[in-house]
Structure formats: C-alpha cells, structure tokens
C-alpha cells in the first residue's frame, strides 16, 4: 500500500466490453466533478485547485442537475475531485444524493479534513477513497500538501478511515504518494472515451490533464457539450489524428498515450506523448507549439501573412503574425490594409485545420473565403507590429463554416468579426457524439 501510485481519477474497473459499448452508443460510464475551489492545503498536485477560485461556483442544485444528466447518459460513477472536497458545504448530503441515484462515489482526499464522523459517513455510503499520503516521512507529506504541519492531520484522517472500517470490499481505500508532476493518467488511459470532468464553475474538460474547456453546463446540456466537442471527436478518431510516433505504435489499438501530458508539454492534445518511454529517443518527432506555419497552409510568402500557431483549443486557436513590408496588403506608408484582417483570420483557421491534420491519415480540404460580416475595424496595424489572431469556429453547416476572429496588437483589438469559409469537400467534419 505505501508508495503505490495514487489514481486521482476513475480507475479502470470498467471492462473493455463496457467501454466499447459506451463508445459505440456514445454514452458515459463515469464523470469526475470538482467540488470546492481549493482546499485546506495548497496541494502540490492539486491541479484543479490552481485554476479555480471560490467565485461563481456551481450551486448544489446545479451540481445535482449535472449529475443527473450524467446518469441519464449512462454514468455509473462520480469521482469527486478538488483541493479538499471535505470542505465543500454539505458534502455528505451530496454523497448521499449521488448514492440515492444509484451511482458509485469515489473521492480524492489528502486526508487532512477527514474527521471520525465523516469517515463513518464515507464508509456507510461505500465511497471509494483515494488518499494522497506519503507515510514515509513528515517532510514528504508536508511537501505533498505544500503546507508544513499537515502530516499529523493527514495521519489522523487515515486513522479515522481505518477506524470506520476501511478498507473493505464495498469501501475500497487506495493510498499512495504522488509525484508533483504526475496528476496525469498514463499508458492505456483512454478515459476520454467514456468520462469527462466538470469543474467547479461549470466548465467541462476532458480530464484533469487535458484541461481545454469544451463547454459549460450552465450554458448547454452535458449531452450537447459532449456531442459538439471537436476535441472529443478528435480523441474518438485518434487513430487518424494523433501525430508523430504514437500514431504508428503497435499498441495504438488500446493506447494513445497520455493526452494530458501531450497537451501540457507540447500545447497540442494530438501530439505524441512525450513521457511515454517508447518516445524517449523520438522527441524530435513530436511537434510542439508554437509551431511554424510554413508548409501547413497552401499559401507561401509573400501571400502567407501569418507566422506561428501559438495555441489550440476547442474549435479555436491563436496565431501570430508580424507585419512586414513584403506583405501585399501594406501601403507605401507601412499601414496594413483593412482587407488583410479577413485574410489573417482565414489563414489562421486554415493553419488550425492544417496543423490538426499534420501527420494524420486524413487529407486536408481546401477552404475559400466567401464572406465576412459583423466586422469592426478598431485600429490600424503597421510594419513591425506583431499581431495575435484568435479564431473560433462558430457554426458548421454542410460545406460552410462561420468563424469568429479577433486581431490584436498586444492588448488592443484592431479588428473583429465573422468570416464565412466554404470547404471543397463532401463534409467539413463527420459528426460524432452521444446519440449519433
């Protein structure tokens, strides 16, 4: 038990058949939910606590509602994450609610907040507890919890769990230390096929490592978020879209590496896993952001007026461009013509699509700029300016796509609007997701 690797998120107690059926029918088997913004310790591995604040958290009603939505989509288990869920108001009531709906509960805890009463409550509800604890030394535990003096409290929490009856067949207990950089799943995870994580303010992300928001449960039903997500669609079609050595690995049928590690270390959730031992000598084959755009869109200089892909997200991305006097849209005074803003947006979305298909087995489609609307010109770019272009796919319909774009220089927005792209292909992207 001591020293065993802690699994923060749903462990794979689901059979391969259950997972395959969930994928076939586009349903969930589990969800993870963050309750509470932080915790009673600044946990070094409290990945979620670093990105959340106490403001605007989901209400208890909203949490119950999303749990019910997940259940209706097939989820059988709820994993409670967060800095320290014990600090969440009426956590015991929430656990009883989840259990009353027929779902299992797993809770990640650092142990410091587990009182004797709470431990008994957990045991009575057959909650699987995953305890982050390094029993080897006080210093190690304090490092893990990033707070001096937590060791005794954590030990006490562990004792309360044991006294309550843990571990048992119905109420498992998993204990172990976690390396500071390893709040990520590893080889063979693929949990994105059947799970997702709901953050405390309602954002839905694929998992604790792949922290790209794909929607918010306050704005959309969970069903629609999962159905519409291009990130999840990419992961479902990973065999065609993973770049680099992971795509050709002999174990690709059952493993696509850790998408969280890929995202956090390269900026690209479709990159090969840099931490996989098989890629140790193949790091130069793994693309990383920022990525030079030359070669991933059809245009060449001087018509290519964007430089690097900086970020990718849920149907969105950010590109950089430095205005040069070689650009065809620059006048004799060094000012960039307003028409160039549309071209910047169009090339940026082309770069986003081209990067996704880099090294994959799918061919890219040509896109044509066929319209622009709701354009606001707020400033003029000049030679020497470095621009950031943010693009987001708004709507796709048949061969058409509407893309929202913003062109900025530092923090000043120079232009924003929508462009319409027509793709020379049978379909822009095939649909996938729950209910399809």
């Amino acid at each position: 038990m001591p020293g065993s690797r802690v699994r923060h998120v749903c462990s794979h107690e689901f059979t391969e058949e259950e997972i395959e059926e969930a994928v076939r029918s586009s349903r969930l088997l589990a969800i993870e939910i963050e309750l509470g913004p932080g915790g009673n310790a600044r946990c070094s591995s409290g990945y979620l606590s670093k990105r959340s604040t106490s403001k605007n958290e989901l209400s208890r009603r909203e949490v119950r509602e999303v749990i019910l939505q997940a259940r209706d989509l097939g989820a059988r288990k709820v994993s409670i994450l967060g800095g320290e869920a014990r600090g969440y108001p009426r956590i015991a009531e929430m656990i009883r609610f989840v259990r009353s709906k027929g779902l299992e509960v797993e809770m990640l805890a650092n142990g410091a907040g587990i009182t004797a009463d709470f431990a008994r409550e957990l045991f009575a509800n057959q909650v699987r507890v995953v305890l982050k604890m390094d029993p080897s030394s006080q210093d190690a535990q304090d490092v893990l919890a990033v707070t001096e003096g937590r060791f005794d409290l954590v030990q006490q929490g562990f004792r309360h769990l044991k006294e309550a009856g843990y571990p048992s067949d119905e109420a498992p207990l998993e204990v172990g230390a976690e390396e500071p950089e390893s709040s990520l799943r590893g080889h063979g995870c693929m949990q994105h096929k059947f799970s997702c994580l709901i953050c405390s303010q309602g954002d839905v992300i694929p998992c604790v490592g792949l922290s790209i928001p794909i929607g918010n449960v306050r704005e959309q039903r969970l069903y629609d978020i999962l159905k519409d997500s291009e990130v999840l669609e990419d992961l479902r079609n990973y065999r065609q879209r993973i770049k680099g050595p992971c795509g050709a690995c002999e174990e690709a049928d059952t493993c696509y590496g850790c998408r969280g590690a890929a995202y956090r270390l390269t900026g690209d959730y479709l990159a090969s896993d840099p931490l996989c031992w098989k890629n140790a000598d193949r790091q130069n084959e793994i693309a990383r952001l920022p990525f030079p755009i030359a070669g991933i869109i059809p245009q060449e200089r001087p018509m290519r007026i964007i430089d690097d892909l900086l970020e990718t997200g849920e149907r969105s991305g950010e590109v950089s461009a430095t205005v040069s006097d070689e650009m065809p849209f620059v006048d004799e005074d060094g000012a960039l013509d307003e028409a160039a803003y549309f071209e910047l947006m169009a090339q940026s979305i082309a770069a986003l699509n081209g990067f996704k298909q880099l090294g994959g087995s799918e061919s890219s489609s040509k896109g044509y700029l066929v319209g622009a609307q709701k354009i606001e010109i707020l400033g003029t770019a000049r030679v020497g300016d470095t621009l950031n272009i943010y693009v987001e796919k708004d709507v796709r319909f048949g061969k058409f796509a509407v893309v929202k774009g913003t062109v900025s220089r530092n923090t000043k927005v120079l232009a924003r609007g929508e462009i319409k792209i027509w793709h020379d292909t049978e379909d822009v992207r095939g649909p996938a997701g729950p209910g399809d």
Partner: protein, 88 residues
C-alpha cells in the same frame, strides 16, 4: 415555448438579419424563390436560429429539406419537442 412564439421569433430573424418585409413572411413562402435567400444566406440563417433559440443545429440533415417558411417553423418545433432547445 409555444408554436406561435416560435413563428414570431423566426419571422424576427428574417426581418432583422435579412431585411425581409413582414408582409412577405407567409408560411407558404419558398425561402429561395419567394424570399430570395441563397445558400450563403442559409448559413447565416442557421447561425441566427442557433442564437435565437439557443440550440445547436450544426449538421442536422433536416435543414437540407427546408423549402418554405412553414418548414422552418416545424423544424424548430421538432427540435423543441426533442428537447434539443434549452429554451423550451
């Protein structure tokens, strides 16, 4: 959302986004021949309906069958009955 509310909101889209006069917005009107929308306009129509009704239409195949204004009303009504629209 009642059927009449849906009709009213669809008409508002066509008046506001496409500047079609209200007296032309009759259910039997063909959106291409009578209201003079083209394929690019259909994309904008889909965008506007998504925002107005807070739905995701995306690649719904039924869009391709829409010919009249009545077809649009029935399409939105069907989405509501299917529980696709959070505004329902």
């Amino acid at each position: 959302m009642t059927e009449q509310e849906i009709r009213t909101m669809v008409n508002e889209i066509l008046e506001e986004y496409f500047e079609i006069e209200r007296d032309k917005l009759l259910p039997e009107m063909n959106i291409f021949e009578d209201l003079e929308l083209d394929s690019l306009d259909i994309v904008d129509l889909v965008v506007a309906m998504q925002k107005k009704f807070r739905v995701r239409i995306r690649d719904d195949e039924r869009i391709k069958s829409i010919r009249t204004l009545e077809d649009i009303y029935l399409f939105i009504l069907a989405l509501q009955e299917e529980g696709v629209s959070p505004g329902a």
